[in-house]
Symmetry: C2
Subunit: 140 residues, 2 copies
């Protein structure tokens, strides 16, 4: 049974469920930062997913990237599967800007998170939910 | 025309060309570290690649991950497209260990590279070349 890791549940807000992944918003106003968590609790790496799941992951990842560009004007995207501290497979999608707090370094471990206000967080979640089609079909 | 970015050319050794990506070995003996560089000079993100190229990238990425596990016993894989400092699209594949120099932090910007000796580097390149099939067909 899929259960979100406690660290992800603590640090992120739930946005919705894609066909494969749970979509989370990192509660850190320093960077627009989405996280995809494949609902495959026994898998630790992208390469461990089945072929079909890898395709679906790609489609969902592409959508996250498109949203970070269209809604936040991302100058650069950082897409990374690390998981050294949180073993549950999750893939970061971070919008980066040449004037952001950590630029040009990676965001991880640089600066403490600066949470959104409850109102800001709720508004962002609503914004994301409006952008997400009910079902993502992969076109591959 | 595809030309490798000077920073990648300086820091890495050339291993070979997959159908889509150039395969590089980071010259840093602290971590077994492969880099895939899609030979698509006009693309900056994985999501900018065509659908067909994304599938091919996945196949080549999966092979890198399999090699890092089978040959180096990777405990964890870090797979990341960052590119904040080197704009040419390139995807890191790093074998991580709970006793490595940067664990559990990401490897980027943590510690200066410790180059292999010329003999070690050459031996690794030979090892990798023997592991790479002439052509990778994606099975999706």
């Amino acid at each position: 049974m899929f259960e979100l890791h406690e660290a992800l549940a603590r640090d992120c807000a739930f946005v919705g469920d894609f066909p494969l992944c749970r979509l989370l918003l990192m509660n850190d106003q320093q960077y627009p930062w989405l996280i995809l968590v494949p609902r495959r609790p026994e898998k630790r790496e992208i390469c461990d997913l089945s072929d079909e799941d890898q395709l679906q992951y790609l489609a969902e990842s592409n959508l996250c990237c498109a949203i970070l560009r269209s809604e936040f004007g991302a100058e650069k995207l950082n897409v990374a599967a690390l998981g050294n501290m949180v073993p549950q497979l999750h893939i970061h999608h971070v919008a980066r800007f040449s004037n952001d707090a950590a630029w040009p370094k990676p965001v991880w471990g640089q600066r403490p998170a600066q949470p959104y206000s409850p109102e800001e967080l709720q508004a962002l979640i609503v914004q994301f939910r409006q952008l997400i089609p009910e079902r993502i079909d992969f076109n591959f």
